[in-house]
């Protein structure tokens, strides 16, 4: 509000008043959006935290079994066993609109329908631990996909909230006060102009009155003089 460069005209005042109204409405709307987003966001974040803890724990057991399996088998045999997957996953992605933020919704189809049918290797040459690992991985995978969905949503929402928060603050602390100050400035200036005009008019009126009074007096004086020269004064002048 340091330097206001507005022309103090009535038109500018009308324009600024319109601007202020829009800014106020925008501020209210954005604030509502921010609050709504925040509510959704916090819910999502709680979910993410719980799910992440679960996934991490389950993945650790998977890794444990896997490590045992790789210890029991040679790495070549392990690689060979897992080289060509039987199962394949197709991911379809839709999007959902949460308060103007597009968040992904994942859905997946597996090629083989049964969970028991995913082992891409014969059981003869592999360790039982590998089966356990793959099986557990199959279970944790569903959770992992859900985690991906909500964690990404949380990230995207965080970005949107940050943006909205900035906008709200900019409107609240810069835009609206500045416009208000400008409006106040113009109103003051216009009022001042009004007063100046009134004063000037009064002054001019005074001057004109004074002038006409003087003219009148001069005329009177002239008349008196003329009368004095002729000698007698009429009774009713």
């Amino acid at each position: 509000m340091a330097n206001i460069t507005v022309t103090p005209t009535r038109m500018e005042l009308t324009r600024l008043k319109g601007k202020l109204k829009t800014a106020r409405r925008g501020h209210k709307l954005l604030k509502d959006k921010r609050d709504g987003l925040m509510k959704q966001f916090l819910e999502t974040v709680r979910e993410v935290r719980a799910l992440r803890a679960e996934v991490e724990e389950e993945l650790m057991t998977v890794h444990k079994s896997f490590t045992v399996a790789s210890a029991l088998m040679s790495s070549e045999a392990l690689e060979q066993a897992l080289l060509y997957p039987k199962q394949s996953v197709e991911l379809t992605m839709g999007s959902q609109n949460i308060m103007s933020v597009n968040v992904p919704v994942y859905d997946f189809q597996t090629k083989t329908k049964s969970d028991a049918d995913i082992y891409p290797y014969g059981f003869a040459s592999t360790s039982g631990e590998l089966d356990t690992a793959v099986d557990a991985l199959g279970h944790v995978f569903r959770k992992m996909l859900k985690l991906a969905e909500i964690e990404k949503s949380a990230q995207l929402m965080a970005e949107e909230i940050e943006k909205t928060r900035r906008r709200v603050n900019a409107l609240e602390y810069v835009m609206i006060p500045e416009t208000e100050a400008a409006i106040r400035y113009i109103t003051m200036k216009l009022d001042e102009n009004d007063r100046a005009t009134t004063t000037r008019l009064m002054k001019v009126k005074d001057m004109i009155l004074k002038q006409s009074l003087e003219e009148k007096r001069a005329e009177d004086a002239r008349a008196m003089k003329a009368f004095g020269a002729s000698g007698e004064a009429p009774q009713d002048a």
Partner: protein, 105 residues
């Protein structure tokens, strides 16, 4: 939205091989540089979700933040076989801080 996407897993060999059995695209990498390159490459292709082990993910913040605000790919950190480093949890915390301006949970 009928297009199908792929799911990739990037990390050290032992951590990712299991995912191959599930039909995900597993990409074993040995260095961070390699992983970065792989992420960039996958982001350009039809890859919607990338799971990245924390061991590799901890040193490639630049690449991760590049894709953070985009719809695809979603890069999700998972613990590798060395155990959880807490980076994934940290990221959630950071998201909260970013949104709220303070750590409130």
């Amino acid at each position: 939205m009928a297009t199908t996407y792929r799911i990739a897993v990037i990390g050290d060999w032992e951590s990712v091989m299991g995912f191959r059995a599930l039909g995900l695209d597993a990409y074993p990498v040995t260095s961070v540089e390699e992983a970065k390159e792989k992420v960039r490459e996958l982001a350009k292709s039809d890859c919607a979700v990338i799971y990245l082990t924390e061991t590799v993910g901890k040193d490639m913040e630049d690449v991760l933040s590049r894709y953070k605000d985009e719809l695809t790919p979603a890069i999700i950190l998972i613990p590798g076989r060395e155990g959880s480093l807490g980076i994934g949890k940290n990221n959630i915390q950071r998201a909260i801080e970013r949104a709220v301006g303070a750590d409130i949970l």
